[in-house]
Symmetry: D2
Subunit: 407 residues, 4 copies
């Protein structure tokens, strides 16, 4: 029987950490002995647990300890950090420590140093001289960089459950189309106003359904009102936005009269070509050819945007970053300082953005497809709100609520 002692601190019961500790041990066939436990007496008091984990063999014990580590368990004695050089550019040493999206610390020369730019499924690179640790995707490693291997000397602090009721679910997903949509929209609007008051950033991730379902004006209005600090989207959103401005159609559908002017199908190609002729969306605006819409508002108001390419793109537009690794890097840059991400009707871009978020960012995901909402909130950050709804009505209502709050 292999054994190891671990300890846990904080709101480990109501933040579902202790129950998950027991779950992980039992699901993997391990045993445990609680050596010490003191419970937080009041709702703001932390608890503390010291537990002996047991398993039939070393491999199982390691598996269990690896999982426990991810949710904040640590060994009471201070363990040494193990660093190994990256063997080549774009590859990590075997057994490298793969990050979670929680605040993470490494023990370096007697101090706990916080890992910068934390993001899940990456490596930790340590600059011993300058006492710095930074999170890096495997592909960005350079030969010789010191990479953390194993989990010793690494500490993770999973987020704690808020002390009060919130519309954001804490680390659990309950997706149901049967929620009071309008009331939720009001609450989201309040949250957005709160964040902007704190001078923090809100990111929007949008699929082209925002245009197809007729919510384009509402999003443009949100940008004008200052609620969009950065926009993540793909080629299609920009194309249909410009198509709508130039021809009044979205993928050939007249979104005002609801007539499928099928002739309009080529309109999206003509819209692309106009941008290609002008050289960029910005040039079109400068030439007075594009006078409104989502991209127009972004450019006019200096709201940064990342248009990430995908293999289903027509064109694509010059602004689209066609290399996906480059696109990820651009997304990373713009996510710093973001406190709320609103994901609207796109699984691809929402998952991509979600993968880059630290666990303390709040997310709202709205999609007509419950499977998409489940997937996004499951992989999401610690506080996610999933809404199965229609962006074509959700977004105009959100804009209205924000106007009321502003008034």
């Amino acid at each position: 029987m292999e054994v190891k002692e671990i300890e846990l601190k904080g709101h480990i019961i109501d933040s579902f950490i202790l129950p998950r500790v027991f779950d992980i041990i039992m699901d993997n066939g391990g045993e445990f002995e609680v050596l010490q436990f003191s419970i937080g007496k009041h709702k703001t008091d932390p608890s503390y647990a010291r537990i002996l984990v047991k398993a039939g063999d070393r491999e199982t014990l390691d598996l269990i300890l690896g999982e426990l580590h991810k949710i904040g368990a640590r060994v009471p004695e201070i363990e040494e950090l193990k660093l190994v050089e990256a063997p080549k550019d774009g590859a990590a040493p075997r057994g490298f420590y793969s990050t979670t999206n929680h605040p993470t610390y490494v023990y370096l020369s007697g101090e706990w140093i916080q890992v910068e730019k934390i993001e899940m499924d990456c490596c930790i690179v340590v600059d011993v001289k300058n006492k710095k640790a930074v999170c890096k995707p495997i592909r960005d490693l350079q030969k010789g960089e010191l990479v953390v291997v194993g989990k010793s000397g690494v500490r993770v602090e999973p987020p704690e459950r808020p002390r009060e009721y919130s519309i954001f679910e804490f680390m659990r997903s309950k997706v149901s189309p049967e929620k009071p949509t309008r009331a939720l929209i009001r609450r989201i609007a309040e949250e957005m106003v709160r964040i902007k008051r704190k001078k923090k950033k809100i990111a929007f991730v949008c699929g082209p359904a925002v245009i197809h379902t007729g919510a384009s004006d509402a999003l443009a209005e949100l940008i004008r009102m200052g609620f969009v600090d950065v926009l993540f989207a793909g080629n299609a959103l920009a194309v249909h936005d410009i198509e709508l401005q130039l021809f009044g159609t979205s993928l050939g559908m007249d979104v005002k009269k609801v007539i499928p002017t099928e002739g309009g199908h080529r309109n999206h190609l003509y819209a692309i070509n106009e941008v290609l002729l002008a050289g960029s969306i910005e040039n079109m605006i400068r030439d007075g050819k594009l006078k409104g819409g989502i991209m127009y508002e972004c450019i006019k108001r200096n709201v940064p945007f990342v248009l990430a390419g995908s293999i289903r793109d027509d064109g694509p537009l010059p602004e689209v970053i066609t290399d996906v690794v480059e696109a990820q890097r651009a997304m990373r840059r713009h996510l710093e300082g973001v406190e709320l991400v609103v994901m609207l009707a796109t699984m691809l871009h929402s998952i991509a953005v979600g993968n880059l978020l630290p666990s303390n960012v709040k997310t709202v995901c709205v999609d007509i497809n419950p499977a998409t909402v489940i997937k996004l909130t499951d992989r999401g950050t610690a506080q996610a709100l999933g809404i199965v709804s229609d962006v074509g009505v959700f977004l105009p209502m959100l804009t209205e609520e924000l106007k009321k709050l502003r008034a």
Copy 2:
């Protein structure tokens, strides 16, 4: 080779009748020869076709002819109507004519008589003496009634495609969540105003998600405005409507504050019990215990409703018709004169109502689940509009649009 001559009249090309004739013949391995064809020269002119249908054997020919009959094909010579007595109560003679939902005529004593109360999947009962024909479900047949057998002497008139563009799809379903929802809502509102101006009836079929998603006030308002001529729903809609009035919750969720006052879960049982104690919803209103909501508005404004029972009901309420065959009868009674049916977030009740509709009634189906929308518009009447959206935002927006049109 077995052969039979058929003829077709009307807008048989653009109403997709002639292409379907060819489809049916070819899919079933038959052959055809077009004996005569004159095409409508202008968009309002009818066409005419006389076609020789051929098949390798009698059985295949009959199968093909049966299908062609349903879409309006008839034999040029007048065929005799065959009537056989119902052998017992609630059962039809073998080979009985099973109805479509299109206007149908039987040839009786040298005259074409229209079948009353037409509805699909029923029998036709003929009263020879009074020269009347009426559509009846098998279970309602009485021993000795004369039932039409085979298709000779029966004529069907499938609906024709409207001459102008309409938001309602003609006999085809194109379900997509990527439609401009707000613009469609405006068009539906216009259609509703048009129907009410003609003094025709609008029916609503509603599931409990109307309450859960917070659209209860909007529906109550529509009833007050006179846009609901009859309401079809189940026990759950009424229970949660009353729960919301009595306790402010819907299935235990506070729909204003969006707090899951789980304690509220029992609220729906307490709501049921209050009605049971009072004896009926009407009594509760009389006693001043129920002062608003959907059921309140229906009763106050004499809007008839049918609450049809289902096996998942709690209670159920005294107004619920627990026998499903009785409930179908009640639904039939209230559908007379209805020109538009709006189906909101319920597959069970919508299919049940849809089954009873003649093909010339327009239907709008709104559901968050595309599969439900497809199913309903596929089985639907000739002019159906399917919208994949969230009733929690759809219904308030529809009410707003109607108010604007009224103003």
Copy 3:
């Protein structure tokens, strides 16, 4: 500040009881003080907690205590059971205790008596003389019966998390279409064999998609193999089963050749009529007119079935219970002794059956629609397994696996 002391026992951490206790208190704005806590040292040891719950007012405290009660919290002192007579037939006294689906006990004359036939959303009727307590739906109450009011003197024992890993989720729903379907099927088959070895019962709840997707033979085979102890379904399943036997079609689709012999659409009506002419399905078998299929196997092998009516039924068949309250009663009767319920491709019947189950029954729910699977596993019993899959391939594979296990 209102206060009340409660206590909890058992595997309250890993069974998610203690975290939910804290959740409920904090979500509702209450405070707590942990007076005493001893943790189970090993994975089979129970824990114990004594907690002081505090709230700003009596109403909030009561709400919190009501919720805590449902998950097993009890007051340390023994409280007196309150009994009030039912004021009339089919109605309960105000404030009646509404049941959970967990094992429940009432304190009667110094003893804890287990409530019989426990089922959620019902009342508890007490026979003081015979020291018996039984669970009853409100509508079944008779005037004068003694009904439990409030929660004092009532104790609930929520199920505990199994000590080992299981494919059944414990009180949580993780619905994903991305599960290894075949491997899960193997595990379900093993569970079914295990249950039959213990001479316990397995119930199947089936929608008509079982027939439409071509899985009819597989279900018939399961019945022959003895894995179906009771079948819950609706009119449509039986109708299409008989249609398939008589005409080789299911709703007019030739399920072998996959040709939509549209002529076949009336086949389901003719199938209904044959049963109506014979008087019952059993008579058809006796007369040699029905020679195989699901209903045939049930009747031949004395497997009880409940065909519950719904408002979308054609016919319905004579065996269908058209009164939904009667149908619920029949379902209740046949659920006694069932340890596993397999729900296939029907939301209506699955929810109806799920509502009647005590929390210790295991359920497997298979549906192509993730929303249905979520809904069923969310409302489900303590151990539910949701699979987003296609019954048309799931059921044949399950049958194959069971054959392998038998061999």
Copy 4:
């Protein structure tokens, strides 16, 4: 009133061309006069129509004619082809002809030349000297290339409905989860065998759910059996395939034992790193580190594959084409000669591939999500089969059927 004469030839009634002609004219507010019409007398005879199209203004007439052109209408007189030079690299002249995916011809020096590599939403570039016309995406145009502008001198030949019943829907999508899955699988298997006998190519487009749902072995087997001529997928499919081979897990789930060895979550990162260390998948195989699975079989059997990058990729693997425009080009190259495309559980890659297909390629699309299936079959080629099912059971059954057919 503006007028223009058009003509149509072929199976224009049963291929839904003539009805759509009338639809388009009427939906857009036009009028028509049928000048001449001769109908195909037998099912293999072509029909012929000459129609005068009328509209209130030039713009509407042009819109109508543009739509009619796309479905094969042509003007009786021969019109001159208009060619304009591409004004710059990667941009087309205004008013360029945007292609359909149907066989297309241009009238050049008195001859109808077929456009090579036809694909929708592109331009036609004409090499006057060599009398060649080729389809090109806008972005691939070079300054000075002669691009077709307007539709005069261009002729489109939409595909005709097959004369016999087929499981593939002709230009219509009827998506239903209630199809007999096993029987359809048999028919697909037969179609695959037929295509391979003709020495034609079958392409597979696969999402990672193929691995997650446990169908990996089945796909590997299909490759070994020679039924996969080219594989289109993304980074995730390859990563999880290799993860499964190295660690027995797929995204951390043990797909055999169905145990979520959460520790395994990092396995997918370790799998990526192994490939990065080796330098390529091929190197891993050469080094004996990868001994089975989908990628292994592809490489061993020289089955070409395109792994197209997306912004949600971890890694990505060295074989992944990270530039989406490059990836599209690679996909185009490998689609030549393909007669059937099987799309499994991926919307992104399936739409991307679908966009590149000429209309005469058959497609089978299998997905658990009906919305995906609808989207794919709607945009699809002329003969598409959509199946709402679970690849985890679909693919093993398909492999089994193919083995039976081979035996």
